[in-house]
C-alpha cells in the first residue's frame, strides 16, 4: 500500500505477546488512517461497556498516510481510547517525531490491549519488538523518563511517556513526547497508566513507499515554499500560539478566574512579547515543519526548562488562575509536564477549587489547611502536586470538575466549566455563540481544536444566532479533524493560509488513489458520525442533554471586560443546537438518522 507502512503492531500486555498484522486496505478506503483508523478500531474492538481502566479498553496509536513524509507538518500522531474522564470517545493528537519514527519502523499503528502485571515499556527497533521492565522508571516524571530512556537506548529513539499522574489514575493524565509535546486531553495517559505501560520507545530505518515520487516531491516542495513565503510565518515562528494571548484578552475571550470573565486585567505580563523577551531560549519545530511554533523556555526564578507555555497553558494556568507572572505560568506548565497532567484540565480544576474555596463551598478543612486564592502561585503549585498524587483535596479534583461538583453538590455544578465531563479549553464564549456551539458538540468534550469558530463570530456578528453559524461549525468539524486523519498538522492551513487545494493531489501522488477534496471531507464526516455513534453506544440515555453548555455560559453574564454583561441564553444555545442537528442529518435528540448512517456507509458497523 503506497503511503502506508502496511502493518499494525498489536501489543497484548496481559499475555505479553506482540504480533503484527496487515493494514486492512478496506479500512484505509473508508477511514484513511490516523484518527479514522483508530475510531474504527475503538468502535469495533473495544466491547460495549468496557471499563476505561480495565483490560478490555485499548489505546490506539495511529499515524496517517501523510505522517513521516515531506508534506509540511506531517508529524502528527493520533492517540485514541475510551476516556476515563468522560466515559466516551477520547482522541488526542501529538506532534513531534513519534509518527515518523513509528512509520519508519514499519508500523502505521499500535493497538495496546490488556493490562500488564508490572510496569513495562514498549521497545520497538524496526522488527525487534519487546516489552521491557520499567520498574526503574515507575514513579518518575514524564520528562525525566524521556531523558533516561534516551540515555539508555540512544538519542535516535523517539519516546512517549506518562508521569505519576497517570500511574495514580488521575482522569486527565496526558502522554508526553519530545520533551514537551502532549497528547493532552481525555485521559489517554491515564489508560496507559492503568495498563502499567510507562513508555513507548521507537526507532525505525525503513522507508515509506510512494506511488509517484516525482510528483509527490514537487507538490510537497510547493507546499513548503508556500508556507515559508506566507506573510504570517514570521509571527507564528517568533511567538507561536502565545502571540494570541493579548488579542484574546482584548476581545474578552481569555478565560479568567474560572471563566468568570474573559478579560484579565494583568494580561500584559503574560503576553507573547513579554514571554519572548523574558524566558524563551529557542524555537522548536515538529517533524517536517517549516514553522517552529514551539517555544523552549527557561525560568530563572524556578530553575527549570519547559516547552511553552503555549496559548492554552497561559490561558488556563495563567489568567484562569489569575497568575500574572509568566515565570510562574512556565513553572506550572513544567509541573504539569513532568507530573503528566493535561494543562487545560488542570488549570480548570485548580480554578474551580479556588472559586469553591472563595465562595465557601470548600474550606481549609477540606484542603488540609491550604488557603486557596486566585493569583497565589505557591498554593497553586502545591495543589497541582496534590492532584497528581491524589493527595488530600487532590483526590476530589483528580476526576475532573464534573465529578468534583457532583460530590460537592449544591451550587458547585454552576462553577464546573465542562461539557461531557471534559473541562473547557481557552476561549470564554459568552459572546461567541458559534464557538460555544463548537464546545457543546465537540466529539471529545469541551475542546476547541475540532472547530475554532470564534473568528467567524467576530466576522458575522458576536450576538447573532443563525443557521450559517451552525453550518460553519459543521464545516470546521470536518476540515480540522481531517488533518488528524491525514496525520498532519493543521497550523499550515489555519495560520499560514496554505490552500486546502494542495492536500488531495499530494495524497493522490503519495497513495496512487484518486481522491478528491470532497472524498476527504466525506471520510471526515464518516468519522464524526462514527464517534457520535460511539458516545450513543457507551452512554445510557445519550442525547442532546450531553451537548448542554456549561451552566455559567447561560446563567451568569460575563463579570468584567469588553464583553461584560454578555451571555448566550438557554433558548439561544438550544436554537443553535437545533439548527446544527438539522444540518447534520441527526434527529432532534442529536442521534444520527439511519439514512445518514447509510449515506456514510456506516450501517454495517453501527447497525
Amino acid at each position: 500500500m503506497f503511503g502506508y507502512a502496511g502493518r499494525v503492531l498489536r501489543i497484548d500486555l496481559t499475555r505479553r505477546v506482540t504480533t503484527t498484522e496487515p493494514y486492512d486496505p478496506e479500512i484505509a478506503r473508508r477511514f484513511l488512517g490516523g484518527r479514522g483508523f483508530s475510531a474504527y478500531t475503538l468502535y469495533t474492538e473495544v466491547p460495549t461497556g468496557a471499563d476505561p481502566l480495565g483490560p478490555d479498553n485499548k489505546v490506539i496509536v495511529s499515524t496517517g498516510p501523510l505522517s513521516g513524509t515531506l508534506v509540511p507538518g506531517a508529524g502528527k500522531t493520533d492517540i485514541t481510547t475510551k476516556s476515563p474522564e468522560t466515559g466516551g470517545y477520547a482522541s488526542a493528537s501529538v506532534g513531534g517525531l513519534l509518527c515518523a519514527e513509528l512509520k519508519y519502523a514499519g508500523y502505521d499503528a499500535i493497538i495496546v490491549e490488556g493490562i500488564s502485571q508490572s510496569p513495562v515499556y514498549l521497545f520497538i527497533d524496526d522488527d525487534l519488538v519487546e516489552l521491557r521492565d520499567a520498574s526503574h522508571l515507575w514513579g518518575k516524571g514524564s520528562l525525566t523518563v524521556e531523558e533516561q530512556l534516551k540515555t539508555e537506548l540512544g538519542e535516535a529513539f523517539q519516546i512517549a511517556s506518562v508521569g505519576p499522574a497517570a500511574e495514580n489514575l488521575v482522569s486527565y493524565a496526558c502522554i508526553t513526547h519530545d520533551f514537551g509535546r502532549q497528547a493532552g486531553r481525555g485521559g489517554v495517559g491515564t489508560v496507559l497508566g492503568a495498563k502499567k505501560l510507562k513508555a513507548i520507545a521507537v526507532r525505525g530505518s525503513k522507508s515509506i513507499p510512494i506511488a509517484d515520487v516525482e510528483t509527490f516531491r514537487t507538490l510537497s516542495r510547493a507546499m513548503f515554499k508556500a508556507c515559508m513565503e506566507s506573510d504570517a510565518a514570521e509571527v507564528w515562528q517568533k511567538y507561536g500560539t502565545a502571540g494570541v494571548v493579548s488579542w484574546a484578552n482584548e476581545i474578552g475571550a481569555l478565560p479568567t478566574r474560572n471563566f468568570q470573565s474573559g478579560f484579565f486585567e494583568k494580561c500584559d505580563s503574560l503576553s507573547g512579547e513579554v514571554m519572548r523577551d523574558s524566558i524563551v531560549v529557542s524555537d522548536k519545530a515538529c517533524f517536517a515543519c517549516p514553522c517552529p511554533c514551539g517555544k523552549y523556555s527557561h525560568t530563572e526564578k524556578h530553575g527549570v526548562f519547559v516547552e511553552g507555555p503555549e496559548y492554552e497553558t497561559t490561558a488556563l494556568l495563567g489568567a484562569n488562575c489569575a497568575i500574572a507572572d509568566i515565570e510562574d505560568v512556565a513553572y506550572a506548565n513544567y509541573l504539569c509536564d513532568e507530573l503528566g497532567l493535561d494543562t487545560i484540565s488542570t488549570g480548570n480544576c485548580v480554578a474551580f477549587a479556588i472559586e469553591c474555596f472563595e465562595k465557601g463551598i470548600i474550606s481549609s478543612a477540606d484542603t488540609g489547611g491550604l488557603e486557596l486564592s486566585f493569583g497565589d502561585s505557591a498554593a497553586i503549585f502545591k495543589l497541582i502536586g496534590m492532584i497528581a498524587a491524589r493527595e488530600g483535596i487532590g483526590e476530589l479534583l483528580a476526576s475532573g470538575v464534573k465529578h468534583a461538583a457532583e460530590v460537592l453538590g449544591g451550587k458547585a455544578a454552576d462553577l464546573a466549566v465542562q461539557v461531557k465531563g471534559m473541562e473547557m479549553s481557552g476561549y470564554e464564549s459568552r459572546s461567541a455563540p458559534a464557538m460555544l456551539l463548537s464546545y457543546m458538540t465537540c466529539d471529545v468534550g469541551a475542546h476547541h481544536n475540532r472547530s475554532w469558530a470564534i473568528t467567524y463570530d467576530l466576522e458575522v456578528g458576536r450576538d447573532k444566532i443563525s443557521a450559517d453559524k451552525a453550518a460553519k461549525v459543521i464545516e470546521l468539524q470536518h476540515i480540522r479533524p481531517l488533518f488528524d486523519v491525514l496525520g498532519a498538522c493543521r497550523l499550515q492551513w489555519v495560520e499560514l493560509g496554505l490552500s486546502l487545494e494542495h492536500y488531495a493531489p499530494v495524497l493522490q501522488a503519495l497513495t496512487g488513489q484518486d481522491r478528491s477534496w470532497d472524498d476527504l471531507m466525506r471520510i471526515s464526516e464518516r468519522v464524526w458520525n462514527l464517534t457520535r455513534s460511539y458516545w450513543i453506544r457507551e452512554t445510557a440515555g445519550f442525547g442532546r442533554d450531553w451537548d448542554s453548555p456549561p451552566p455559567r455560559t447561560w446563567k451568569e453574564p460575563v463579570a468584567t471586560g469588553p464583553t461584560k454583561g454578555s451571555s448566550v441564553s438557554w433558548e439561544d444555545n438550544q436554537r443553535l443546537l437545533d439548527m446544527y442537528y438539522q444540518q447534520r442529518g441527526w434527529d432532534e435528540n442529536g442521534i444520527p438518522t439511519p439514512a445518514k448512517l447509510a449515506e456514510l456507509e456506516l450501517t454495517d458497523i453501527v447497525g
Binding site: D231, A232, K238, Y239, R276, T455, L458, E495
Partner: protein, 106 residues
C-alpha cells in the same frame, strides 16, 4: 513586466525590485509612509477597499485599525518591523506593518 502599484503606494515605488518582489508587493495594500501588509482573512476583507489617502505615520495601531474598513478585532497580531506590538504602539514613517488574523486559512 512593469510592477503594478498598490493604491497610494507611488512614493514607495522600487524600480530595482525583481519581478517576484514586485509581485509580492503587488499583493499588499499600502498607506503613505507606512507599508501595510494584510494577511489571510484580513487581506481578503481589505481587498480593493483600502483607503486611497491614508497616512498612517503618527497614528497608534488602534487608530489605524479604526480607519480601515474591517472589524479591528479580526486582527490578532499587529507586527511592526518584525515585532509584535500592542494597540497603543505609535507608527512611524517607513514602518512595515503586518496585520495578521488568528486564522490565516480557516
Amino acid at each position: 513586466m512593469t510592477p503594478r502599484l498598490a493604491a497610494g503606494s507611488e512614493s514607495r515605488y522600487r524600480p530595482d525590485e525583481s519581478e517576484a518582489q514586485s509581485a509580492r508587493r503587488d499583493r499588499r495594500e499600502s498607506a503613505i509612509g507606512v507599508e501595510i501588509i494584510p494577511v489571510g482573512l484580513v487581506k481578503r476583507k481589505l481587498a480593493g477597499r483600502m483607503p486611497q489617502e491614508l497616512d498612517a505615520a503618527g497614528l497608534t495601531v488602534r487608530e489605524l485599525l479604526l480607519q480601515l474598513p474591517i472589524k479591528p478585532e479580526l486582527v490578532a497580531f499587529v507586527v511592526v518591523n518584525g515585532r509584535l506590538v500592542r494597540r497603543d504602539h505609535r507608527l512611524s514613517d517607513n514602518d512595515v506593518v503586518k496585520l495578521v488574523p488568528a486564522v490565516g486559512g480557516g
